[in-house]
Amino acid sequence: MTLLAVDDLVVEHRSPGRPVVRAVAGASLEVGPGEVVGLVGESGCGKSTLARAVCGLNPVTEGSITFDGQPVTPLGLRRRKLTGIQMVFQDPYASLNPRRRVGDQIADGLRTSGDTTTTPADLLERVGLPRDFAGRHPHEFSGGQRQRIAIARALAARPRLLIGDEPISALDASAQSKVATLMRDLAVSSGAGLLFISHDLSVVRLIADRIAVMYLGRIVEVGGTAEVWANPRHPYTQALLGAIPKPDGLGVLPAELPGDVPDPADPPPGCRFNPRCPMVMDVCRDKEPDFGPVACWLHEPR
């Protein structure tokens, strides 16, 4: 059975005097128990909005989200604790209370899970931080240290679904692979699911079982990590993987996508990628490829 099922989800941001922003525009995604799904995509394509909707923090306009067979409704924090979903927010300050010692905040998580043997210092150690950091406040840390504290706090609660929104973006490569692997191991060994949002494709490749690629509010490609990596099929996925800068010391600037970054308040008709797609065909301009696993007219399932 799937742990999390997001089905044809639409989430809109409305603010007075501004056009409605359809940040998630019909996205479907599943996460199974013990599974790690990497969610990648262009900045502003709706990843955080989707994640927040799963936590009940953004109201659902259309479609549905079910966690453990139960619909997720916007009930906020209390329900999140009850349902066992934990999220590490993109901004670590959104995960941590600036006025409390981090050890106390991690202890809250341990209480949620009824864990009486682990101490906050143990968790700090597991994310690669000194044990005596427990007595400090969030502002007394570097960016990467703060991110790891937010992760320690979320892990303490032993969630059944852990959502990490760019949780390790400030760490160097070796710390990244350690912490990402830790998150993966804890999820997999306890049968929890992990939805891992990241711009760092090498980390996603390291820990995800499946990759979901998002573009302008929709999931455009889903597949096994190795498969997508070796053989990306959607032209956007191809562009994305092709733009990873190589640490070869040669000073080569990676390629940018042609055309403007699209505005979710004013999406192009037909395939959402068509104004920037090198393979665009006539059909792409007037019909949206509304199917999976690769939402592209070149890969229509028969």
Partner: protein, 271 residues
């Protein structure tokens, strides 16, 4: 304009944070700064602008075009900050005021520092938003920071830093919230500003791919000290310090170009 940091030491409430940092930024060059999390990269940037946390003690020297910044009076330092030297903070929330529209934040200092009128400031602000790849720049001008995605806020913070045409830019992890294609756009923008306008950049980044794409010089920090400095190609291809080597070794092999003296040996990442 050049910026020289020499023997910079910082301690916070008696605890040593920086143990004598030396770095030089040259006109038209990107100086990349990598290093362990918690090694003092952010503190180095903050020290240049006199923005260290309360209770910090600083010694050493930071000179901008020969002028010592560490002993500057607060008023003069304010003039330098946001004028000749600008900073993109690691946490975009620090760069942006939550209650002001991004248009207001972009134009506020512009009118003062560049002595231009309101219309011209607005035009420039919209142009800058477009340059950092914000979609619908005209409309975005009137939005508040929370109405953007994480990566968009980061780009707005870059635009704010560039608003007054600084001579020196300190950018602390400015592309961590960007996907690789948008990141490519922002890196091209920075590279272009260096090449065309002679901007000097200190680019703090843990991403060695980013480093490799735009940096001219690379320095690596560990435990409050710069452990290695040199031209990009040398540091990334023939690292002298063990820590730099360990960073490069922790990258999946396929990401790395062949290094001289090594075969493209294939290791799997599992195990």
């Amino acid at each position: 304009m050049t910026l020289d940091i020499t023997g910079l030491k910082v301690s916070i409430r008696g605890k040593a944070i920086l143990g004598g940092v030396d770095l030089s930024l040259r006109e038209g060059q990107v100086h990349g700064l990598a290093g362990e999390s918690g090694s003092g990269k952010t503190m180095t940037g903050l020290a240049v602008l006199g923005l260290l946390p309360h209770g910090s003690q600083v010694t050493g020297s930071v000179t901008l075009g020969g002028r010592e910044l560490l002993t500057l009076a607060p008023k003069e330092l304010n003039e330098v900050r946001g004028g000749q030297v600008a900073m993109v903070f690691q946490d975009p929330a620090t760069s942006l005021h939550p209650m002001l529209t991004v248009g207001r934040q972009l134009t506020e200092h512009m009118r003062h520092h560049l002595r231009i009128d309101k219309r011209e400031a607005r035009r420039r602000a919209v142009e800058l938003l477009g340059k950092v790849r914000i979609p619908g720049a005209e409309e975005a001008y009137g939005r508040f920071p929370h109405q953007f995605s994480g990566g968009m806020r980061q780009r707005v913070a870059i635009a704010v830093a560039l608003a007054c045409s600084p001579k020196v830019l300190i950018a602390d992890e400015p592309t961590t919230a960007l996907d690789v294609t948008v990141q490519a756009g922002v890196l091209r923008l920075l590279r272009g500003l260096c090449d065309e306008l002679g901007l000097a950049v200190l680019l703090v980044t843990h991403d060695l791919g980013v480093m490799s794409a735009v940096a001219d010089e690379v320095s690596v920090m560990k435990d409050g000290l710069v452990v290695e400095t040199g031209p990009r190609e040398r540091v990334l291809r023939e690292p002298a310090h063990a820590y730099t080597r360990s960073l490069l070794d922790s990258l999946p092999d396929s990401e790395r170009g062949p290094r001289p003296g090594t075969r493209g040996d294939i290791r799997t990442e599992e195990s």
